[in-house]
């Protein structure tokens, strides 16, 4: 362990936040230099959950490595699998059937909704309002029940595979998704009433953690973090993939750049996801749910990169192949990694209590950062 001073030469105190901490949602260790209550510098110390997935995937076949990617950003597990499947399909030039594309998008949007709901509940909990956590989970339970019926698991689903999806949807899938949407639309107003319109909550998030658009571009920020600063970066809109090419939805952008703007971006994204699912849920085309692929996949020599939008931002899957059955090098460009690099800039000059608010609106999931 490196020697960390307790007091800097100027007399400022160095405190540890984490790695075990109720507010960091994962094992994130921060060294903050404070003068009284004001934060002067923040130094993240990550790597507590580094499992070297990239090195491990070099010895797993193209069908096997997808299972370890579910564990990276476990709240948007389907979208990680989707990215890997898209890259492999790009390399092998596989045509995915229409039915599978539509099912993939519906499942991805449900995952995005579940991830944002958990984010909302834990943000409110970190700021002291302990009840919204339960309300968020009440709706999230409906989504995990749908996932359990169709995909077989509640958290790390491994449903999307190269060529399509693993199995066809459950007969009750459409009915349950529609029931969930009715329930969700009736509750989103309550979410706004309880937390968004609360004066105390607004005082704790407005004007906190400002990130300008130029800084968002320079720090490589992505997802709702960057869209809250006015940067238009929704991969589903700019470089559409899968069934996103054929549907209508809006990209949500706020220009303020503070915590409240990032919060509102995610709240409105939830409503857009419902809109997307509504367009697709009744129009699932008939057909195959998986294209015919060989048992052992071998990508040709070359490099393949896929960009897609997870709940946290842009995920990049970069595969370098030398023609074998295992990848030569895989790199996962994680959204949390670049969002975390902007954290130091965002909290300088704020109080310790604001650190919680900024980290909550960045929506960091540490296994995604550490891989």
């Amino acid at each position: 362990m490196r020697n960390v001073v307790d007091t800097t030469p100027e007399g400022n105190m160095v405190l540890n936040v984490g790695p075990q901490h109720p507010s960091t949602h994962g094992v994130l260790h921060l060294f903050i230099t404070v003068n009284g209550e004001t934060i002067l510098n923040l130094d993240p110390n990550i790597g507590y959950i580094h499992r070297s997935i990239e090195k491990m995937c070099e010895s797993l076949s193209y069908r096997q490595f997808i299972y370890s990617t579910s564990r990276m950003d476990y709240l948007s597990a389907h979208m990680n699998n989707h990215g890997c499947a898209l890259t492999v399909e790009k390399g092998l030039q596989i045509e995915v059937p229409e039915r599978a594309e539509v099912i993939r998008v519906i499942i991805s949007e449900l995952t995005r909704l579940a991830s944002h709901q958990l984010w909302w509940g834990s943000l409110a909990m970190d700021l002291g309002a302990l009840s919204p956590f339960f309300y968020a989970f009440r709706e999230r339970e409906m989504i995990t029940d749908i996932m359990e019926e169709t995909c077989g698991a509640r958290l790390t689903m491994n449903y999307i595979v190269p060529g399509g999806v693993m199995a066809d949807i459950h007969p009750d899938f459409q009915r349950k998704v529609k029931e969930f949407m009715v329930q969700f639309k009736s509750k989103i107003g309550e979410y706004h009433e309880l937390v968004t319109d609360n004066v105390i909550f607004q005082n704790r998030t407005k004007g906190i953690g400002k990130l300008s658009k130029e800084d968002a571009i320079s720090y490589g920020c992505t997802g709702p973090t960057a869209r809250g600063s006015g940067l238009s970066c929704d991969i589903r809109k700019i470089y559409p993939y899968s069934a996103y090419k054929n549907i209508q939805f809006n990209e949500i952008i706020e220009t303020e750049g503070d915590s409240f703007a990032r919060y509102m971006v995610r709240m409105r994204e939830m409503e857009e996801s419902v809109h997307i699912i509504e367009q697709l849920i009744d129009n699932i085309p008939e057909g195959e749910f998986q294209a015919k692929t060989k048992a052992v996949l071998k990508l040709p020599k070359g490099e393949f990169y896929t960009r897609l939008e997870t709940a946290r931002g842009e995920l990049g899957v970069y595969i370098v192949s030398e023609g074998g059955t295992t990848p030569y090098r895989i790199k996962f460009r994680s959204p949390g990694f670049s969002n975390l690099s902007a954290l130091n800039h965002m909290v300088k000059g704020h109080k310790i209590g604001d650190l919680v608010s900024v980290m909550g609106t960045l929506d960091l999931v540490i296994p995604d950062i550490d891989r």
């Binding site: 790597g47 797993l60 320079s218 490589g220 970066c233 393949f304 990169y305 460009r333 690099s341 550490d370």
Partner: protein, 151 residues
């Protein structure tokens, strides 16, 4: 700009570099010594305006390293790949932190896992592994009989 158009534009701008269309985007391969001036031109010029570095990584080809930079423009929405060849014996390359602040953590990760020294990096130290770790795990010749299991 479309890929073809961008490819022609880059070829006119950098006549001595090797540029081709890869699987998605134009790929430009340069030597590690030319990195800073190439990036300055790509970022600063109005017709390209590559201001968003969305991926920076390294690939170990056993005889040399290749640093791979994926750049994109938030204004024109075009992307490209920049590859710089780095010597294996003395792996050193300039840091691009002064152009893209996101490179600070990305380059620390590459240093941690591959051992490439980034010159003029403000704070080059290990990121994911502990301070006293010996070796660079993502290199192809890394052996660790205790921690690595051959599958």
């Amino acid at each position: 700009m479309e890929n073809e158009h961008l490819l022609n534009s880059l070829q006119t701008g950098f006549p001595e570099a090797a540029i081709a269309i890869g699987s998605d985007w134009p790929e430009m391969s340069i030597e590690s010594t030319q990195l800073l001036e190439v990036i300055e031109k790509l970022k600063g010029s109005d017709k390209w305006d590559f201001d968003y570095l969305f991926c920076e990584t390294c690939v170990d080809w056993k005889t040399h390293f290749t640093m791979v930079y994926h750049l994109s423009s938030t204004q024109y929405r075009h992307s490209m790949v920049l590859k710089a060849k780095v010597d294996r014996e003395i792996p050193q390359i300039e840091s691009v932190v002064k152009f893209y602040k996101t490179a600070e953590m990305l380059e620390r990760e590459v240093y941690d896992l591959f051992g490439i020294q980034f010159l003029n990096h403000p704070d080059l130290r290990r990121l994911l592994l502990t301070e006293d770790w010996v070796g660079y795990p993502l290199r192809k010749d890394y052996h660790d009989p205790i921690n690595m299991i051959k599958l």
